[in-house]
């Protein structure tokens, strides 16, 4: 029964909780209460329902209780809903620096999304590292490229998770790179301190952005305007 699940996502407080968790991190009940804009006890009730429906997984650590999404499929449905919401115009056009940073680079479950994510995938495709417009495969040249970058694609293929998955970007209406390869790229970005996470948004350092653009997303002959520098 799909309505049962959808009703869970249909409450504003719960929707806020879920979108706060869409970057794959685990947050405490208090943090989620603040994100949702309701009191602690109300949040507790919501979390119980979401966990019972197995959309979230809760873990106790000391006197905190951490919640995270139960899997990438939940995040994918959430992004799908964002796409529908945007299409209808039911989206709040809240302009401002916060929203702008979010559009520039953010974290979708565990991989890079936003303008930077879309730019990177576009560049990877144009250089023949991955093939397919909407659906994709890593090509031999791509394997070499990622090996140079420090990612072993063959190792990723041993895992159960799809390596290279196109994930529709709700703000850009184009795909960015998901799957275990997308996750590995993001992990590397953070490990090398090219960028740091600030909640759901990803903030590049000036030098890091330069490196990122040079290595992963060099601008090319695409018809789209060249990506503006991050504010």
């Amino acid at each position: 029964m799909i309505a049962q699940v959808a009703a869970l996502l249909g409450d504003p407080a719960r929707a806020n909780i879920l979108t706060a968790l869409i970057d794959g991190r685990a947050l405490t009940v208090s943090e989620l209460a603040r994100a949702a804009g309701v009191t602690l006890q109300t949040t507790s009730g919501h979390l119980a329902k979401l966990a019972e429906a197995q959309l979230l997984i809760g873990e106790k650590q000391g006197r905190h209780r951490y919640f995270r999404l139960s899997g990438p499929d939940v995040a994918q449905v959430l992004e799908g809903l964002m796409g529908l919401a945007q299409r209808t115009g039911a989206v709040r056009v809240r302009t401002g620096p916060r929203n702008e940073a979010l559009r520039a680079a953010r974290i979708c479950y565990d991989h890079l999304a936003g303008e930077r994510g879309v730019d990177m995938l576009t560049s990877l495709q144009r250089r023949g590292f991955v093939e397919g417009d909407d659906a994709m495969t890593v090509m031999p040249a791509g394997r070499r490229f990622f090996a140079d970058f420090g990612i072993d694609v063959a190792a990723l293929e041993k895992g159960r998770r799809p390596v290279c998955r196109a994930c529709l970007d709700w703000s850009e209406r184009r795909s960015h790179l998901g799957g275990s390869l997308g996750a590995a790229v993001l992990a590397t970005l953070i490990e090398r301190k090219w960028a740091g996470r600030n909640g759901r948004t990803l903030v590049f350092s000036p030098a890091g952005l330069q490196q990122f653009v040079a290595v992963l997303a060099p601008p090319g002959i695409d018809r789209r305007p060249a990506p503006p520098a991050t504010p």
Copy 2:
């Protein structure tokens, strides 16, 4: 605001309406009222809301009013929600011939889903016609194959819609073939009368199933059990 859209899908009556339309056909208000299990006037109200949110599109034809999904993205979100609902065990395990036929072969917006759909994609991949496990590209051999079958892949590529898209199957938990190529295959199946639509389920004729298996989904060395004959 994602909650607004999700709340629309969260009402049982509306969820029934949407799942009734998931095969991409247009149905009248009366037909949808029967599918939803509520009265005509209640249905009318629901449809007004769904149309206002642009999840549905309504067309007047004489004294009937036909409604259909506004696009494949709506169907994709619905299938995603079905996947989540199934995972939680919130799914009614209604065994019976009707459900069985649905699992065997059904229509997902405008392409083939269910066991047949998954079998077909598996076979296409094994024969090297499309590449990628979760993400896919049509290979040159695939172009020749589909040309023989009567589908011009190059022509499909002129359209704006993705040609070859992996679509997660809620009943099989594996992907089937979506995109304009998937739609073209289904259209051909029906045109050649290998199968006919009965609501959302797709019913193969005995001869049609034989042709389908021989041409599009020859069984191979996959470890999964061979597909049973359609009841």
